[in-house]
Each structure stands twice: as structure tokens, then as C-alpha cells.
Amino acid sequence: MTNLKTTFRSARDNGYLLCSDCEKLHYLHQEGQHCDRCGAHLHSRIANSMSLSWACLIASMLLFLPANLLPIMTFKTFGQGEPNTIIGGVLHLLEQDMLMIGLVVLIASIVVPVLKMIALTILLCTVQFGLQTNLRQKTMMFRVVEWIGRWSMLDIFVIGILVALVQLGSIAHIEGNHGATAFAIVVLLTMFSAIAFDTRLIWDNGTSDLPADSTDHKDDS
């Protein structure tokens, strides 16, 4: 790897600012103006990052309850059929020995959203309380969580496909229920929370000193 020269201080501490859209470097006093290359609004950190991110996260946690308690869809054959919740659907799949897709749906609909909420809480607390441990791991966790969170939409797509496909009048009929709306909004809110979160805030608290392993990491990868 190339030998990068750095003072291990942030661009902001050095009087610079990075355009968040095109990553062109500007002077800090240009904050509030527009980037001369891409026209985006210049800000050294996302405005109101913490409050927006907290708000979306807490709202998603509150909605997660109705999303799991309300039925998401109803499968009726010859007029018979009960509404199903997310967990109910997973259990149904497991009962029918469809272990693989039962697990896939369980991971996408329950495990991923819960892990994402926990991860975002850890990240937000790190910034809120100025914690300074495992910052690199936390940044890595954010990348993973941001990428994986969208897969929670899986069950929503399955509902959409089944509802469109199984419309055979009285023989068989699938309809969506409002638990699906709640769940879709949960996923949406966690995505907004991650977008509003500014990873640079993690590093802003007292990390101006050199990380202990900075010298050995220059030669790897």
C-alpha cells in the first residue's frame, strides 16, 4: 500500500471541509456556500445528524411492535383462512419443513431489523457520550448495517408478489394487511436513521492522537 502522509487530525480541525456529494475539498469558511464543482450545499458534518438519526431510530423501534403484532397477510382457500403475522408466517414455513426459506424470512424480517436497531443505538450512544473505544470496528459495523438493512424489505416484496399472483376468487385468495404497512415503515425509518447518521462524528471525539496501530497498518492490504 502507498505510504499516506497524515497528521491524524480531521479535515475540519485543519480548516478544511469535504463536499459530501463529489468529495472535493474546500476551506472551512466556505461552509454554507455551494460546491463549485457539483453545486451541493457545503457542510462539514450532516446538519442535525444526531437528532434526526435518533428520531428515526426511536420511531422505528416504536413501530416495530405493531409491525410484529398486526397481521401482515391473509391466505384464504375456499373462504377459509386466518390472518398471519410475520412470526406466524415463519412458524408456518417451519411446520411445513421449509426450513431454509423459513430461516431466510426470519433473518430478513426479524434478525436484521433488530440487529440494525441495536447497532444504530450503539453508534448513536458512542457519539452522544463521547466513547472512544473500537472506533474502527464501529465504522465497519455501520457499513455492514447500512448495506444489509435493505434486505428487510424481503417480506414486503413476497407479500406484493403473492397478493398479485393468488387472486383466484373463492378458490384461493391472498390479501395484504396493515401490519405490512407498519413493517415497511419500520424498514424505511431505519434506512433514514442510517442516512442521517454522520460516521465522521464517531471520530470527532478526541481522536486527534495517533491510533496505536497506525504504523503497522500502513503496509498491509
Partner: protein, 211 residues
């Protein structure tokens, strides 16, 4: 740290200020503090994006017009195209869910393909490109919101769920959708924002000197 703005670069994930170095084409420059990828070189990026976005726009048509799946029970049959999912949910009263499926599975991928085609076409053929900035902003801000690959996994799960109950037939739409996902994934790999913004910069300077 001394240097002009062009000699310096900041990490977009941890804001570390670093001196820019020249990199080899096969070499990624990694942030020493948080290990984010700072910049890298993609060979023939514009040409590849032009070919991929064009292929994507063409594939978009059969993927949305031909049935993904057809189901047959007791002589009755029903087919599904992507739009049908949104429409059925809308009719069933789940307006928000219908809207999200429409956005994530149809609108966002289409806008991204159009933006990508516009960017690569304008830069490759050195057109004027008044909307280059807007196209770049829309493509970059929509990253992560196109969810065709998740939709495809949803189709596979629906097939497994229904295969014991009814006769299912895979339609041309599903093959087109799979090809479309490959094209979109490749184009997001070859999309190198640093490099393209730099090219837009050069492009603008050139067209200004022509005036």
C-alpha cells in the same frame, strides 16, 4: 500540514486529512484510520457504463412487460408483472406498501439507469451536458434504494411457498429481471464517483474554452 487543496484529500467516513498520492490502476487508496476506500481507478469506466446502462434500459422493458410468474389452479390462471404487485396492494388498501414497491422495484432503478446513460453518453461523446450535475446527484443519492435483487429473492421465496399448492410457470420477465440485476450490479461496480466528477470538471473546462 502544508499543501494546496488539490494535494489534499479528506476521508468521507472519518474526515481524516490526508495528502493525496498517485495510485496505480490496480491500487486502492485506503484511509489509514478507518479503512474506508478513499479513491481508486476504474479503467474504461465511462465506456463500460455506457454499454451497461444501454443494456439495462433495453432489459428494463421485457422485465416489466412480460410476466415474471404465472400460476394455474383448476383451469384458472393468473400472471404477475412487477407493476401488478403494486397495483394489487393499492387496490387492497395498502397504499404505502404499494407505493414503496413501485418506488424500489420500478421507479428508482429506471431513474438510475436513465441518469447513468445520460452521464456516460454525455461524457463519452463530449456533449454539452447541462444536466450532468443533476444526473450525478440523482444517481448517487438513489444508491441503495433500488431493490430489484431483493424483489428477485422474493420471487424465489414465493415460488417455493406456492409450488405445492399450484402449477407455476416461470415467465420471460423473470429471466429479463435476472439479467437486469446483473447489469445494474456491474454498473454500480464500475461507477467510480471520484473519477467521474473529475471528468465532469475537465469536461466543463473544455466546453468553456470552446466558447
Amino acid at each position: 500540514m502544508q499543501g494546496t487543496l488539490t494535494h489534499l484529500i479528506a476521508c468521507h467516513e472519518c474526515d481524516l486529512l490526508i495528502e493525496r498520492v498517485a495510485n496505480q490502476p490496480d491500487q486502492d487508496v485506503i484511509c489509514p484510520r478507518c479503512h474506508a476506500r478513499l479513491y481508486y481507478t476504474t479503467l474504461n469506466s465511462i465506456e463500460r457504463l455506457l454499454a451497461l446502462s444501454l443494456a439495462g434500459l433495453i432489459l428494463f422493458i421485457p422485465a416489466n412487460l412480460f410476466p415474471i410468474l404465472s400460476l394455474r389452479v383448476f383451469g384458472q390462471s393468473q400472471s404477475e408483472i412487477i407493476l401488478q404487485s403494486a397495483l394489487s396492494l393499492y387496490e387492497g388498501g395498502l397504499i404505502v406498501v404499494a407505493l414503496l414497491i413501485l418506488l424500489f422495484a420500478v421507479v428508482v432503478p429506471l431513474i438510475q439507469l436513465i441518469a447513468l446513460f445520460y452521464i456516460s453518453f454525455t461524457l463519452h461523446y463530449r456533449w454539452e451536458g447541462r444536466l450532468l450535475r443533476q444526473a450525478m446527484h440523482s444517481y448517487q443519492h438513489l444508491r441503495g434504494w433500488g431493490m430489484l435483487e431483493i424483489f428477485l429473492l422474493g420471487v424465489l421465496i414465493s415460488i417455493i411457498k406456492l409450488k405445492d399448492i399450484a402449477d407455476l410457470e416461470i415467465g420471460l420477465g423473470l429471466y429479463s429481471l435476472a439479467a437486469l440485476i446483473v447489469v445494474i450490479t456491474l454498473s454500480s461496480i464500475f461507477f467510480n464517483p471520484h473519477q467521474i466528477w473529475h471528468q465532469i470538471d475537465l469536461h466543463r473546462k473544455q466546453s468553456r474554452s470552446h466558447d
